[in-house]
């Protein structure tokens, strides 16, 4: 179950998308999310679909791998779809008992589901094709103006990259503790929700203890290697925009313009 989480996982491959500057990918993900919520009408969604599929194809990440990330949000998606379906006021389409499905409701439900799916897929393309370190480097550099108003950008980026590095280690550890506790008769499967939550205690306590111990040791190891904050640090892999990054930005803005145009001129079915 825990291993299905694709968020923050890197899929190594040799593709154009992998080689792009992380800042490009970060802004692409942002713009893509914004464009999804600007979408209105089939034409705009068609543009979003074409863009997403092209990027996925270019990234050489297997499609099944991306879909795995969707599993985690199936419940959320169903929930929003159901709410949209039944609770949107408008022209009634079908009506039974106290429920009424309206035309607008149906439209909203479908578009919302598509939006959420694309949102997850779009952001997973970014995380799957960028090393966690690249991602935080990109974030650090794009947010560095905030340093002037006292936001500790470097510290935040360092925290993020360490968190990402420790996700697989802590997942493995959870697995190990779970098995050890199960061997002693702990039960994580049966009972109602409250029981299940209670049963998690023998899992969470040792996990937290070991996480704190790890944090302590890691901090010491970092200090031993002369880490003392962002000042005076150099970069092994400094970020520099190249020709392909500029082209990527152009394509990105082209796509965004297309979505806006579709929204204004072809908003069917609005």
């Amino acid at each position: 179950m825990l291993r299905d989480i694709t968020l923050g996982q890197y899929y190594p491959a040799d593709s154009v998308i992998h080689k792009l500057d992380p800042r490009v990918k970060l802004s692409a993900a942002m713009i893509y999310i914004i464009s999804l919520f600007c979408c209105k009408g089939i034409a705009a969604f068609f543009a979003a679909t074409v863009f997403l599929i092209t990027v996925i194809k270019l990234s050489k990440v297997p499609f099944q791998f991306m879909v795995k990330g969707l599993k985690a949000i199936v419940v959320l998606m169903l929930l929003t779809a159901v709410f949209n379906l039944f609770l949107t006021p408008g022209k009634p389409l079908v009506s039974f008992l106290i429920f009424t499905i309206t035309e607008e409701g149906l439209k909203n439900a479908v578009f919302m589901a598509v939006r959420l799916t694309y949102l997850i897929l779009g952001t997973s393309v970014m995380t799957l094709t960028t090393t966690p370190n690249g991602l935080t480097d990109g974030l650090e550099k794009s947010l560095s103006p905030l340093n002037k108003i006292g936001v500790p950008v470097h510290v935040i980026a360092m925290i993020m990259s360490i968190a990402l590095r420790f996700i697989p280690i802590l997942i493995e550890e959870t697995d190990k503790i779970m098995k050890a506790q199960m061997a002693r008769g702990a039960d994580f499967e049966t009972g109602n929700l409250i029981r299940k939550v209670k049963n998690m205690i023998p899992l969470l306590v040792p996990l937290f203890v070991s996480a704190f111990r790890r944090a302590d040791e890691l901090a010491m190891a970092m200090e031993a290697r002369c880490y003392n904050g962002g000042e005076g640090r150099t970069k092994m892999k400094p970020l520099r925009y190249q020709a392909k990054d500029r082209i990527a930005y152009l394509i990105l803005f082209g796509y965004f313009a297309a979505v806006i145009v579709c929204r204004i001129f072809l908003p069917w079915p609005a």
């Binding site: 890197y10 090393t131 370190n133 040791e217 031993a224 290697r225 002369c226 640090r233 150099t234 092994m236």
Partner: protein
Amino acid sequence: MGIIKARQLVHEYIRRDEEGNVESIQTALNHIDIDVEPGQFIAILGHNGSGKSTLAKHINALLPPTEGTLWVDGKDVSEEANTLAVRQTAGMVFQNPDNQIIASVVEEDVGFGPENIGVPTEEIWKRVENSLKAVGMLKYRMHSPGRLSGGQKQRVAIAGVMAMEPKCIVLDEPTAMLDPNGRKEVLRAAHELNRKKGVTILLITHYMEEVVDADYVYVMDQGELVLQGTPGEIFSQVDVLKEHRLDVPQMTLLADMLKKAGVPIPAGVMTRAELAEAVLRCAGSMSDMSFHGQ
């Protein structure tokens, strides 16, 4: 002056209760004197709780001494202005390989140290390549540390320290969590750095087998230095070692038992080859004796 010099070094762990009153004082280091010359391979032996890790943390300025002085390359570690310089001179490798690898790609982790001390980008790449080569991990440079074996992770950690070009590396029980193969890998890497690059190595361990090839050995127990000398000198005192709860290498133990049983074997035998040779020599002279006796 040696690269590491300690005079009357004391460290006390003070436990306080909630009001700040001293509850108990545990002396982890009790008036330690140590001298290490550049280029030596030093082993510090000790049982759990002997204070050996505390000593290691002093050498890297991670812990301040309570009393006494420790100089690393002529710099007093208790002065805060020296902290970074000391850490650059004496690198440190810890016990758990997972908790000291910071980046998610091997080469980025090796580059972490040089990045911190402000080495220019091109120079970082050069250093990363050289230090990965020195520990034999160059072909894993693009790998994720999670997929490496324990011994390989520990070698990456050593490379990470090497990339800062320290004069001295302190290895704090680097093999405690490894399998026998991983242990051999790490020790081989450490010895190679010592021989080829002239880096001073301080190996802290509780495995007696690992100190056999050291130049000089310090034995610690309960915060005190109880024995020091060359491995040969140390291992000739099997009874003293046992008193300090240290396991003697099997060959030394066997030699000692033979000696106590009346077989004339020299003290300080450490390896299988040495013991075999000694036993053969004895067997030769004994069979002569028995022959003449009849």
